[in-house]
């Protein structure tokens, strides 16, 4: 049996008195590629924040690499939503990627030659070595998304955690990014957990699927069967029962019928 790199047991978490996710039991094995789908407000970002130790759960236990999340996140590369970022910030691509090399131990020290090489290597992995010196505000959305992936890779992570990596990216770019993630997962054995709206992509790239709407429905399978995809696609139907309005499902159904 493979090592569990992330494990959540009976986790309840939220903001203030407002519970967002309930009774989450979930574990990720080394080398897995997990896609978590679900509606807005279903708790996807909350789940990621719990794994990153940014939110302390009300109940339950979280372990990352067998450690509490505050320590375990040393091994996690975090890729936030592009839309959360400040595009006007005057900073060069390479300097953003170098941030992945920072840590508590590196206080009062400048970046070393090794840090710079790792950062350049990470940029090369995402195919952006030629724009290292450009300001972050002058590159395209898809490139920026890859820069944040490079920043996460610069620390040599065991796990890559991505929040909506393809929100507001065009289809061609999303294929490039998915291909990149697939390659990182296969050739570098990086475990990937990705939260997304994109149900179609989940079905063609990931190894396991979870569907999150307050509760997590997790399918720990290596191969996706039609039945599982159906079940994942159907999971938003549960939302209607919960009285949460939902926009993802109808759109996908239309796309499916067009194909």
């Amino acid at each position: 049996m493979k090592q569990k790199v992330i494990s959540l047991k009976g986790v309840w978490a939220g903001y203030g008195n407002n519970n967002v996710i309930e009774d989450i039991n979930f574990s990720v094995k080394k080398g897995d590629f997990v896609g978590i789908i679900g509606p807005n407000g279903g708790g996807k970002s909350t789940l990621l924040k719990v794994i990153l130790g940014l939110i302390t759960p009300y109940k339950g236990e979280v372990k990352v690499m067998g450690l509490p999340p505050e320590e375990g996140r040393e091994f996690v590369g975090w890729v936030p939503q592009e839309s959360d970022m400040d595009r006007d910030f005057p900073i060069k691509v390479l300097d953003v990627v170098l941030m992945g090399r920072m840590g508590r131990k590196k206080l009062l020290r400048s970046y070393s030659k090794e840090d710079k090489n790792k950062a350049l290597g990470a940029l090369e992995m995402v195919g952006l070595q030629n724009i290292a010196q450009k300001p972050i505000g002058e590159i395209s959305l898809g490139q920026r998304q890859r820069v944040y992936i490079a920043r996460a890779l610069a620390k040599d992570p065991e796990i890559l955690l991505l929040d909506e990596p393809l929100a507001s990216v065009d289809p061609n770019t999303s294929e490039v990014i998915y291909g990149l993630l697939k390659d990182l997962n296969e050739s570098r054995a990086i475990t990937i957990v990705m939260v997304t709206h994109d149900v179609g992509a989940v079905s063609s790239y990931v190894k396991s699927v979870g569907c999150l709407n307050r509760k997590l429905y997790y399918y720990d399978e290596k191969t996706l069967t039609q039945g599982m995809i159906d079940a994942a696609y159907h999971c938003p139907v549960d939302l209607i029962a919960h009285g949460v309005p939902h926009r993802v499902l109808p759109k996908i159904n239309q796309e499916e019928t067009k194909r």
Binding site: L52, D88, P90, V96, M99, M102, G103, L107
Partner: protein, 266 residues
Amino acid sequence: MIEALQFDFMRNALLAGLLISVACGIVGTFVVTKRIVFLSGSIAHAAYGGIGLGYFLGFNPLLGAFAFSLAAAVGMSAIQRRARERSDTLIGALWAIGMAVGIILIDLSGGYKADLMSYLFGSILMIPQEDLWLLLALDLGIMLLVRLFYKELVALSFDETFSTVQNIPVGKIHTLLVTMTALTVVMMMRMVGLIMVIALLTMPAAISGQFAKSLKKMMVLASILGALFILSGLWLSYWLNLTSGACIILVAGVSYLASLAIKNLI
């Protein structure tokens, strides 16, 4: 302008303006990029409570301003990091409470308060010689701290969540930033007054941020702009016999609006 330089107070004012623009350019750059403009405004106004306390208890009001603004900065930094959703309301409340405490303490202390207005509207022409040394120490201190914690300060301003995930001591770096802001704000208060301090702190950085491609260049350009605004504002005030603080802020404000227009035309 040249004949104005024969006066000691004018020479001191010019030197003070040049010195403060260094601190202002460096700290202002972080205030603008980290988006703590409102918090900085609150620090400036909370300082008034300390000025009142100084009058009331009979010690140097500037010391009171330092103490109050530092306490406000550290307190608000903690509030902002804990209760994110409502932090702006709380910061707004501290802003007003500090001001109110100051006004009441000054009411209670009675006596003659000639230089009270100088804290509100600034009095760069009344800067004493020893303040220049204080300003120099402030500049050197800020340059040293920013040099030591540069990459952490940049990371915090750029992406606080990511910095937390990287296990950078985000809380301490944030406190360092607001502490530097508080010290700069109190020193600037002597020049343009606490009401306008926030404009001089942020406008040079905001202008330079529109054109600079890196944070270091943004700081250098902001410092140069700050110095230009202070010098030209002083010259205007001397020439037209108007309040110096207001002249400086008007020059900065008009330049900021012009830079926005230019940026939109490009």
